[in-house]
């Protein structure tokens, strides 16, 4: 029943172990209590018998008591307290023994009291104390015996046992609650591991690291080693897919050439079919390459923005669209974007290229921190888009599946890269008059 839960298993184990320990404690404490009570009885008997012993005499081998113990139980038949003094010619005993007697002592010690249990008068089980005393040096020793009905101790022992059981049950409850709290505390790092493994599932480059209790280190190190292997496999597979996709581009270009020649030769239908297949394959390759890039996006990376923007601008300035516009860059030299350099290039490249294509004179790029977010804006002074056109553009660029090369693929990649790094892309009207694309990332703690 508890096989599925480590917590329940640990709590149940602790509960049983604590219960066993408390049962043993109950037995031990009851035994100690009984021993203590009996020692008190022995002490009491010795006190009670002092007047008797103080005034004891021997007359022709028969003991004579000058005075008797004061406790009334010695004077009531079967009263539970008994004494008996035996001489060589006879014995005297308490009234409580009535016409019965205590068992005859055998070799009782002379220097101390011997305590034993014995069958007493009236079918009682008694605690028997006995020793010999020599009243005068020249006289023979007399045997003194004291008896106590053990049945008189039973109620106190039962009451103690019951109260002790109640106390130990309460103690069990407290200890079980403590064990429950302890198990919860002990298992908490495992819950943290669980959450971190979930993070690792989302981001192949994430690792658990070393912020765990020492005892969990073998587990977390193994998980990290597994994550290393998984990431390496993933990267290898993705690179292979990317290489394959790149490798197909040149043969496809060659195929397109063949198609064009077939068309020139009059085989228009064949060329149409070929072109249609080539377009589909190009779209598939473009999408696969984009997906490969997005799947390899790593969280927690950062890139200093302006130098990379400068390098991208240098590329765009070589193009027909780029050579006729000016680029203005704004932002501090050290400001960063929260993604790796390659990913940042793939995100910003299409945005800059698109802005240059539509700008009249100027493209403005800014990286700033606004309201706790890192914001990249790329604006132009071109004709811009109205609200409906902006919605359509963002939708057209929304899905890699629906985009093909040159038709929203760049925007789709940029958008998916932004989202893969917890960013959000929006389109708005630029203060320059044209379109402004903004990507906002929440700043990490």
């Amino acid at each position: 029943m508890t096989g599925g839960s480590l917590r329940l298993r640990l709590i149940a184990g602790a509960g049983v172990a604590i219960a066993l320990a408390l049962v043993v404690a109950w037995f031990a404490m009851t035994w100690l209590f009984n021993g203590h009570v009996e020692r008190r009885v022995e002490d009491e008997l010795m006190i009670q018998v002092r007047p008797l012993l103080a005034d004891l005499q021997l007359a022709r081998g028969v003991p004579v008591a000058g005075s008797e113990p004061a406790d009334p139980r010695f004077a009531v038949p079967a009263g539970g307290l008994y004494w008996q003094v035996s001489g060589t010619a006879g014995a005297i005993r308490s009234v409580s023994l009535w016409d019965s007697h205590l068992p005859r002592p055998v070799a009782a010690p002379a220097d101390s009291w011997r305590v034993r249990r014995a069958d007493g008068p009236f079918g009682q089980h008694i605690l028997l104390m006995e020793r010999t005393i020599r009243l005068q040096p020249q006289e023979p020793a007399v045997a003194v015996q004291l008896g106590y009905d053990l049945a008189k101790l039973v109620p106190a022992q039962r009451e103690f046992g019951r109260e002790m059981a109640l106390f130990l049950a309460l103690l069990w409850t407290v200890l079980a609650l403590a064990a429950w709290a302890q198990v919860g505390l002990g298992l908490r790092p495992l819950r943290t591991v669980g959450q971190d493994v979930e993070r690792l599932r989302r981001d192949a480059s994430a690792r658990l690291g070393g912020a765990y209790p020492r005892e969990l280190a073998p587990l977390t190190e193994s998980i990290d080693a597994l994550a290393d292997a998984r990431e390496a496999d993933l990267i290898r597979a993705r690179r292979r897919a990317a290489d394959l996709a790149h490798g197909l581009k040149t043969p496809l270009a060659a195929l397109a050439v063949q198609s064009a020649r077939a068309r020139e030769g009059g085989a228009v239908q064949i060329a149409d079919g070929l072109d249609s297949s080539i377009a589909a394959m190009r779209a598939a390759i473009g999408g696969e390459l984009a997906r490969t890039r997005i799947s390899l996006v790593h969280e927690g990376r950062s890139t200093v923005a302006l130098p990379l923007i400068e390098r991208l601008v240098a590329v765009i300035e070589q193009t027909e669209a780029g050579e006729r516009v000016a680029f203005s860059l704004a932002g501090s030299e050290s400001i960063t974007l929260p993604l790796a350099s390659d990913d940042a290039a793939e995100l910003m490249g299409p945005l800059l290229e698109n802005a240059a294509r539509h700008a009249r004179r100027l493209v403005h790029v800014a990286v700033d921190t606004v309201a706790g977010k890192r914001v990249l804006t790329v604006g132009d002074d071109g004709p811009g888009l109205d609200s409906a056109q902006r919605d359509e553009a963002i939708l057209r660029g929304a899905r890699l599946d629906s985009a093909d090369e040159g038709h929203g693929l760049g925007l789709a990649i940029a958008r998916e890269l932004a989202e893969a790094t917890r960013g959000e892309m929006t389109l708005a009207r630029s203060p320059l008059g044209g379109l402004e694309v903004a990507v906002r990332w929440p700043l990490s703690d």
Partner: protein, 221 residues
């Protein structure tokens, strides 16, 4: 016009040769990197179209070797790898333009012609203002001997200021030169260009004379 096509795929190469020949180019073909490097080093070409994935020596290395050897003809990279990092690497290796496969022949020819037009020579070969040297033949600038990468607009603005060194050139005059009109809306673009030139050449190189315009400092270093 002589062009060098560097491409190892025979079908793609034949199409490039066919398209460029039809556009009036005399085309040589190199089908591996070593041959391309050798051809570019010993022959005078007006332009080269270079694939990156080549046998024996990759395309980026070919372009770098040409540039190191002082071969300045324009280079257009035509590659299956269309990522931005590849484009940046290509331009930083010394290429002048980058196209990803698949390509449209008309666009390729137009861009090749654009490159040749930009690289065309001018009457005055060099202008020197302090440590700044402008090569009007190659349309490049060096500052204290180090090449400064300039966009065509930046180059044209710098070239204009250099031709009028020491004089304050109004923004409207620059706008007229760069865009063919003195539209006030171009002021932001001019300011952006000046800002980028200052970043590349040093803040003191271009001074603003409030109310007059921009001056290329004669003692620029």
């Amino acid at each position: 016009m002589r062009a060098l096509v560097v491409e190892d795929d025979p079908v793609v190469a034949s199409e490039l040769i066919r398209g460029m020949t039809a556009a009036g180019f005399v085309v040589d073909l190199a089908s591996d990197g070593q041959q391309a490097w050798f051809n570019g080093d010993v022959e005078d070409y007006d332009v080269a179209v270079v694939d990156l994935g080549l046998p024996r020596l990759d395309g980026l290395s070919v372009v770098k070797r040409w540039r190191e050897a002082g071969r300045g003809f324009p280079v257009l990279i035509l590659s299956a790898r269309g990522e931005w990092t590849d484009k940046v690497a290509g331009i930083e290796a010394g290429a002048d333009d980058y196209m990803a496969k698949p390509w449209a022949m008309e666009e390729l020819v137009a861009r090749v012609r654009g490159l040749i037009r930009r690289a065309a020579g001018r009457s005055s070969p060099t202008l020197e203002v302090g440590g700044l040297r402008i090569d009007t033949h190659r349309m490049t600038a060096t500052l204290d001997g180090a090449l400064v990468k300039l966009s065509p607009l930046e180059y044209r603005l710098l070239d204009y200021l250099a031709h009028h060194a020491g004089r304050a050139v109004p923004a409207t005059e620059l706008s007229d030169h760069l865009y063919g009109d003195a539209d006030a809306e171009n002021a932001n673009a001019i300011e952006a260009l000046i800002a980028r030139l200052r970043r590349k050449l040093g803040a003191e190189t271009i001074q603003t004379r409030r109310g007059f315009g921009y001056t290329l400092a004669v003692n620029a270093t």
